[in-house]
């Protein structure tokens, strides 16, 4: 079955979540060990979103793409600061993908999924920006590219 606008939005979100799961592995490798639990929780949340999105697409008989074999990081990551910056990038990118799901969704259910996912991204984004001391720690319109 060829994807409609809503399914295409979910496929785009799935691609963002694949990248997020990969990149959180790098964040985990280089972030401050004091933040291990936070990193683990954030990575688990993205894996959960990925799996739920796969389930939603499978339920409507959409072929599920596999993750890329590798991802280019937007900048070199070799220390805790860069790792936190990478987490900020991940949450910003996934927030954009989920806001797009809200906009392109044709069912209330998919919009609800997008709302929940966008809110979670916004919270994690604000936490990472707080850790980095970014001013301001929050953005007025999460997911707005």
């Amino acid at each position: 079955m060829s994807p409609g606008p809503e399914q295409q939005a979910l496929l785009d979100a799935l691609a963002a979540e694949y990248a997020a799961v990969f990149a959180y592995g790098v964040v985990a490798a280089f972030s401050n060990p004091d933040r291990d639990r936070m990193v683990a929780a954030d990575a688990a949340a993205h894996r959960s979103r990925r799996d739920a999105t796969i389930d939603a697409l499978t339920a409507v008989s959409i072929d599920i793409p596999v993750p890329e074999a590798g991802y280019n990081l937007p900048f070199p990551v070799g220390d805790p600061i860069a790792a936190a910056n990478l987490a900020v990038t991940i949450e910003t990118d996934t927030a954009v993908a989920w806001r797009s799901v809200i906009e392109r969704a044709q069912s209330e259910h998919a919009r609800g999924t997008g709302l929940d996912a966008l809110t979670e991204c916004a919270l994690r984004l604000a936490n990472w920006r707080t850790i980095l001391g970014t001013a301001p720690p929050t953005v007025p319109f999460p997911g707005q590219p």
């Binding site: 806001r99 969704a105 709302l115 916004a122 919270l123 301001p136 929050t138 007025p140 319109f141």
Partner: protein, 185 residues
């Protein structure tokens, strides 16, 4: 709208289109009138099914959200006096909720459109010149509850809308939840 050949409006067309005195200029004039007529008809059809109850349409649901955002901003500003140690977070909440109100007002105005003379129709909620009434400073818990409710109502409205409006309200809802969860932690 019933399409009858040769009768595109209620009155009779004064000029026979096959007249020998028909000039190039009048052809353009007629074409222009026809275009205006088509726009007017499509505008009516887009509004309320063509009946005369346009003024009775329910108000744009975004108006209530914009008003609520401005109220939240005023509450956060008032709270600074009572909690100066939290002024950074409270001022940021004021700025964000004001940005939300402005974005919502812009979207409300965009949907209303502009009048023929180029001015925008005025409504009560689009006038932002009136200073907000002084509000009593809320406690931290009251402000948290207020913003939580703002996020909840924005999300509920986003679920029932679609396209840009749903996305905008989704962003606003996520921002309100983040204000409570991170800034007022």
């Amino acid at each position: 709208m019933h399409a009858r050949p040769g009768a595109w409006h209620d009155g009779a067309v004064p000029t026979p289109l096959t007249s020998a005195t028909h000039t190039r200029r009048s052809t353009f004039r007629i074409a222009g009138f026809a275009a205006v007529g088509a726009v007017a008809v499509s505008g009516l059809a887009g509004c309320s099914g063509g009946d005369d109850t346009a003024s009775l349409e329910p108000p744009d649901p975004l108006i209530a959200q914009a008003d609520r955002a401005r109220n939240d901003a005023a509450l956060a500003t008032a709270a600074v006096a009572a909690m100066p140690d939290r002024s950074g977070a409270l001022n940021l909440i004021t700025a964000e909720r004001t940005a939300h109100a402005d974005a919502l007002s812009a979207e409300i105005a965009r949907l209303v459109g502009v009048l023929e003379d180029g001015s925008a129709p005025t409504t009560r909620s689009l006038t932002t010149s009136a200073p907000p009434a002084p509000v009593a400073p809320p406690s931290l818990d009251e402000l948290r509850a207020r913003l939580t409710e703002s996020g909840r109502t924005a999300a509920a409205l986003a679920r029932s809308l679609s396209g840009y409006r749903a996305g905008l309200l989704g962003s606003i809802s996520a921002a309100c939840t983040t204000e409570v969860g991170v800034l007022l932690r």
